[in-house]
Symmetry: C2
Subunit: 307 residues, 2 copies
Amino acid sequence: MTTSSPVGLPGLPARVEVYEVGPRDGLQNEKAVVPVEVKAEFVQRLLAAGLTTVELTSFVPARWVPQLADAEELLALLGDLPGRHPVLVPTEKGLARALEAGVREIAVFASATETFAQKNLNRTVAASLDMFEPVVRRARDEGLAVRGYVSMCFGDPWEGEVPLTQVADVAVRLHEMGCTEVSLGDTIGVGTPGQVKALVELLPSRGLPVGALAVHFHDTYGQALANTLVALQCGVSTVDASAGGLGGCPYAGSATGNLATEDLVWQLHGLGIETGVDLASLVRTSTWMAEQLGRPSPSRTVAALAG
Amino acid sequence: MTTSSPVGLPGLPARVEVYEVGPRDGLQNEKAVVPVEVKAEFVQRLLAAGLTTVELTSFVPARWVPQLADAEELLALLGDLPGRHPVLVPTEKGLARALEAGVREIAVFASATETFAQKNLNRTVAASLDMFEPVVRRARDEGLAVRGYVSMCFGDPWEGEVPLTQVADVAVRLHEMGCTEVSLGDTIGVGTPGQVKALVELLPSRGLPVGALAVHFHDTYGQALANTLVALQCGVSTVDASAGGLGGCPYAGSATGNLATEDLVWQLHGLGIETGVDLASLVRTSTWMAEQLGRPSPSRTVAALAG
């Protein structure tokens, strides 16, 4: 059964760009290494379901993320694709590999907190931004779009609540160094709508326009869609999600992580917002991927519709 | 880890009454019949966790709902309790039993759609309202408060989307016959925030004030908390939820049903809204209850915090 809303809410965009992170953020956090042919089929199915923006993989040293060590092979298998297909690139070496593979958009992954910067990147927040700066500059010089992620925006498992100004400093720095889009990530899913509104409204006053923002919520505490709604009402129109709810944060202490693309699309379509996504096709894709991984999808909507 | 929001959203209430439905709506939909001593301990633990409004059971014929056939025994075990403790009562016979047991508040359960009225009550919507009318009148004459549930407010598995005016007709009739509170239920969880806003804003124009409304969302498609947020912004301040996400609708085609009280409380406390609930104590209660039932809680927050 599907439903469509006869009415909307004020201040919502007519269309939302769903930024699909499943193949990268999802599969990177799976214990199993998925065969490259399965990854390629996953991406092709996501595109066939109407997603136009799919983050494909990471160009990181294989010892950091063995799950994504096949980046070149995956891109070669996929060939030319329509739409936006960023890859995560932490270093200049990774950028060189990505350029060689024909990538047209990259993403860098920063942290708003010192503890997570140390754990994830083995350096301070400032040092990690210094590491990204030449990567972003060269990518822009090569004509690439660059997304900057800010992780741990609303809370950190070690530091607790994160001051908004600390998050804003990192987001603004990424924008100033040349990032064309900045994605605000609630990596452990603790944030609630008041915090989202405060952060999204603070950034334009610091020179980072709302049109350059994306939001990346986790459903660890079930808050992702309420947070999304508020972000949309504040003018954000790019929302990250992971097909079937794949992946998450290994530090979040829960099986649930990324907002499921299906749950997001159910909300957006219910609100009368266009996404271009065929929900039934997406549910079939996530059900198929869950079979490949040997465990059920944590997406509420997949569970409800796949039966 | 807990987090508190330094900021709120406009239009939110300072305090929300969490209307706990786990012992009735939750356990009624469990396959296993829970021993009455376990039910009593469940209720006592919920009260100890700070919940002040707990729907206890149903006074229905045992052949309808064998899971709740021990209503008299449960109330006798519990004795006098502080706060609001409604019981579900469909008929005059049930009301007589409830009065005999010392109940001070009842609830009647109506449907917004004909198909569900037939399946759940074996009569038309109009005939079920006619059945409730003398029950509500007598209960009010006896000085009891009466809650009226409207189920299938935003969608029905057989009829699809439900016209708002059809829902409003049932809600207004319940209020006019004497219900002191009307709970708007999204029994299969398909609704999205635009529909919620439209319905909650329509009812006051039909003579049913927002202060007499409660909302009852299901998380079948992950939409419950976004819907809750919008309802709060429209002036609703009573929200139904089920500890640990117990129960749901057997027709919804999914394992997930009722909004979990823990997920709701996480949102409310994050927004700076008082509930009186001690979340850690509630999570321990739901974890204990999940052990009694032999399956994990579907609540995101319980999964994140219980580990």
